[in-house]
Assembly symmetry: C2
């Protein structure tokens, strides 16, 4: 299935969530199962976690390379989260909007804020929440990638992040991956049907 | 499946289309197959067409009764289309929004304009277009409910109505009923996930 639509501009779908809410799993599944979505690969200065692959999960770069990209205005958004920097290359997003491709980003709240400003007409923002705070805590402990103080820090941050939900366009309560994916798929289909995204010259009522 | 959601306000889904584009078929199927949608039954002063049922398709009323409803401010919108009046009772819409029910209306462009003004935050408007103008003409002739001058008059009106598409939130090109229904279902699911519709006091990040 081609991801290109000459009829309309491309859409920048942004999925954010507190860590442990399941946004990476949902985003990954969405790109795999929903047609015409290109994932955006972030730059990060943090070390790969077990199983993460360079160029698929992230582009792992040094602090110096990250700084160079930033100064060359090559990033559409960036943020420092805990001790690492994360950023999104700008060029693929600009091209996607222009060429009618849709792109899916899995980024944090600070990044979402920057992209909402940069692409006010083309960004669609989706906030994924765990069914409850207790569930989130359980998921983080089960993941086992971090020690207790790190988890406590993430949970404190998650409590703060919950407050950002009203900034988003859509909310997905992720109790069940299949249902959440169906909901995301519906959001994507609906946004692709928006009259406001049609290019003037291709509008069907002009043909 | 209950159509009530205490979490959010009810949504007023409005489907419009030139006659023959298939909006009645889609709306009917949507109410039947998508959960939690109440159809709005319009008042009309026109005579029932073959197969139409009082209280299901329309409430068929006299010109005098229609005038009385209008003067008593019981209509949320109304329009004169060709030689008949059509109107939507206001009370069921107000209740639906208030109680968190979703309602689906199958009304014309004039009616949609009035409802968009009356329910600026709660109306979601969907325009259904036939794949082409030629296809529309074929469908109208095939329906065989009207003579040639009436069809010509409808086609002229449809050409004018095509111009109203940009006023709508969503566009469905109805080439295939199943696909159009899936698209409408996605729009409804997506709109139900909108953060902006959540009631402040029920917002999950406050619980």
């Amino acid at each position: 299935m081609s991801s290109e639509s000459p009829l309309r501009r491309g859409i920048v779908f942004i999925v954010s969530a507190p860590s442990g809410a399941g946004k990476t799993t949902i985003s990954r599944a969405a790109v795999k199962e929903i047609g015409g979505l290109t994932p955006s690969i972030s730059l990060t200065t943090r070390r790969p976690r077990s199983g993460e692959i360079e160029g698929i999960d992230y582009q792992f770069v040094s602090e110096e390379d990250f700084q160079r990209s930033l100064e060359a205005n090559e990033l559409a958004e960036w943020a420092r989260v805990f001790d690492a920097c994360y950023g999104t290359p700008r060029r693929p997003l600009d091209n996607a909007v222009c060429e009618g491709h849709d792109i899916l980003l899995d980024i944090d709240i600070q990044g979402a804020r920057q992209l909402r400003q940069r692409y006010p007409d083309d960004a669609v923002t989706i906030f994924v929440l765990p069914p409850s705070f207790e569930e989130l805590e359980g998921r983080l402990r089960k993941r086992g990638t971090e020690d207790s103080p790190a988890i406590a820090r993430r949970l404190q941050r998650a409590r703060e992040e919950f407050q950002a939900a009203p900034e988003y366009d859509y909310l997905i309560i992720n109790a069940n991956l299949d249902e959440s994916l169906a909901q995301l798929r519906a959001i994507i289909t609906a946004e692709r049907s928006r009259v406001g995204r049609l290019r003037e010259e291709f509008a069907p009522w002009k043909r």
